[in-house]
Amino acid sequence: MALLQISEPGKKSINPKVKLAVGIDLGTTNSLISSGYLGDVEIFPDSSGHVLLPSVVQYRQDAQPIVGEKAKMEILVDPENTVTSIKRLMGLSASETQNLPQFEQYTFDSSRGDESPVIITRAGRKDPIQISADILSGLLARIHSAIDEDIEGAVITVPAYFNDAQRQQTKEAANLIGLSVLRLINEPTAAAVAYGLDSNEDGNTIVFDLGGGTFDVSLLCLKRGVFEVLATGGDTSLGGDDFDYVLSDWMSERVFDHGQATLKERGELIAYANSVKHELSLHNSVSLSFNEWRGTLDSVEFATICEPYIKRMINACRRVLRDASLSKEEIDNIVLVGGSTRMPIIREAVESFFEKPPLTNIDPDKVVAMGAGLQAEVLVGNKSASDFLLLDVNPLSLGIETMGELVEKIIPRNTTIPVAKAQEFTTFKDGQTSMVVHVVQGERELVSDCRSLAKFELGGIPKMVAGAAKIRVTFQVDADGLLSVVAEELSTKKKSEVQVKPSFGLSANAVEEILNSSHKNAKLDLDVRALREAQIEAKQLIDAIKAAKEGDGDLLEESDSGRIESLVHQLSEKIPNGTSQEIREMTELLNQITSDFAASRMDRYVGQALKGEAIDEIDQ
């Protein structure tokens, strides 16, 4: 099979056993979990029937952390140890965290600088990955109490505008508790999947997703069971919480007459602002009272207070329309997602911009988790991809640093993934023997305005005059939206590559250490495992080649056939007693020399797929 990974649709039904897969909406304010294991995809509530799990963790001395509703009640009682809105810190460095007012009640380790922030709690040091992992554990408990089965994997949603570092950290949080991530999908995409499968109507849909701490807008086209994301945009530093902050600032000016509020008072004022915001969703005018102060606020004035934020949101809608080359009139449906879209001022702003009322027939709190659960069903094979397939895009441009600290974009934003793009660069000094490849993400022209993802060096470039060496840099973004970069000097074929990891946060080693310490009894012997994997992969390749030759041997030149035959023979002999490295190298070589054959077969099958011919025989 390795030669060509074509499997006929419906093949998975050979195994009639339904796998347990979950969809997770890991939100700033609330989180949810869904699964289709028991029939239709549904949200799993806690024992008292609550579907929303507040994304709040309270850390205690010598005891397991408390997650959810109970922890939420501790926010005002034990503010230093009760963490909220942790999603806002994902992917940020400690120094970027310093300026965020809503995190001022925590004690941060001040020595972290460019590394990930660490909150010092009474249960020890906690970073955003660990805190997110605790929320995930809280969600999984709901599944474990209902179903006695191992979880095959999870689809976790992230804001479309999450950058590479934020996505990586979300994955690491799942890894930390041993949860395998089938796919990270964008929240608005998940919502559109839930709506699209609900209505089963083709057309262009705008998803306007305003969560507690993030704002996304995406434009999707549903046609023939394929969800194609046309463009996505938004703002990770904008969310429903901002309305609480701006309203509490507005009240603070009046309550304290520009004087200083204590930390506790500010906390109370933010909580009060939140309840006022909710009341304004139900009533046109609200009487205010805080300490001795009394006042009123109506929805018109509230809209004025919030105007700068609403303008930013509408501008993001304009940008998405432009990126997709569509006009407002071509939009068939508008979907509102996220609890904050319950605010009438948001609904009115969206409706007046698109001149069309938004759809709200699925609960905006649940819709993202529902979509994630549906996609999880496809990825574990409980549902077929011919029912629906998701084609997503990379939300932010990816590029590398060139002379003068300028960014050369290699993959522009809103390109359908997976994608691979290569670009050639050259040396700028005579005799230059190495080159630093600096990978950045963002829309701006200057490196300093973009996010740095990785930096690595390609050495061993032969000495040449400036401009003579040719260095090809290839960017590959996989279906999860994660990037790997390869730089290659073309005359020497010298290669250097990185899987992009955030340049801060836990290193891969650190994650492994934690994993090992939490699985002390099931410590894996990594060498044995590597050897086992190499052997399996080699066997799979050999089997695939044999099968391919049987079916499509006519595509193979006789000389190639002989070379392949002898290498297959050598590899077969190596499998039982070679080292993992020897086996791996030989497998890679065999893979390379058969790639031409594989390409010819691909040609044949693509032709057949388009003609609609059965291709069952390909796999055998």
Binding site: M1, A2, L4, Q5, I6, S7, P9, K11, K12, R183, K223, R224, G225, V226, N315, R318, R319, R322, V378, L379, G381, A385, S386, L389, L390, L391, T415, T416, I417, P418, V419, A420, K421, Q476, D478, A479, I536, E537, Q540, L541, N591, S595, A598, A599, S600, M602, D603, V606, G607, A609, L610, K611
Partner: protein, 177 residues
């Protein structure tokens, strides 16, 4: 490493021609994605996953190239053996270049806040109009195999697209604050 030998047109079972029906192209694109996307088959080995990612990356690039008229024009010329990366002065129409410069100056003189939006929208409309005219003249040249003339039109199209994206960047800058 290319995972298939077909060119972009052949991949979708299309004749090598600038005239492409985008609707039926998109239909074929969806068929291929449903068959070969990493989500569509249960991939077990690393090699399988890598191949699927590589092949669908190729399909995505092919689709993106063929659905965009300017990219399709460039790609079509390369299939006819032309180097679209290089262009010499005498291949271009001087009047057109002059007009471009004047339009650029016009953009630069506009006010820097969002009061310039209507003027930018007008300019955009103009440029789009010109693009449509040049596109149809490229299609005519391509059909009658006047490739030299087609190449000239292609470079003019490149200028117009550049101008269009500059206008859009200007719009974007005025939307941010």
């Amino acid at each position: 490493m290319q995972s298939i030998k077909k060119n972009f047109f052949e991949l979708f079972g299309l004749p090598i021609s600038f005239d492409v029906d985008v609707e039926s192209l998109s239909e074929k694109y969806h068929e291929l994605q449903k068959e070969f996307h990493p989500d569509a088959s249960s991939l077990e080995t690393e090699i399988e996953k890598m191949r699927s990612v590589q092949f669908t990356s190729f399909v995505n690039e092919a689709y993106n190239t063929l659905k965009s008229p300017i990219k399709r024009a460039g790609y079509f010329l390369t299939t006819q053996g032309f180097d679209t990366e290089n262009v010499s002065q005498n291949e271009l129409d001087m009047d057109l270049l002059l007009e471009q410069m004047q339009l650029r100056e016009k953009i630069a003189e506009l006010p820097k806040d969002d009061s310039a939006m209507p003027a930018l929208a007008n300019l955009k409309q103009d440029v789009k109009q010109k693009l449509l005219i040049q596109q149809s003249s490229f299609a005519d040249d391509a059909r009658s195999e006047k490739y030299k003339s087609a190449k000239k039109t292609f470079h003019e199209l490149q200028f117009l697209y550049k101008l269009l994206s500059e206008i859009e960047e200007n719009e974007e800058r005025r939307l941010e604050y």
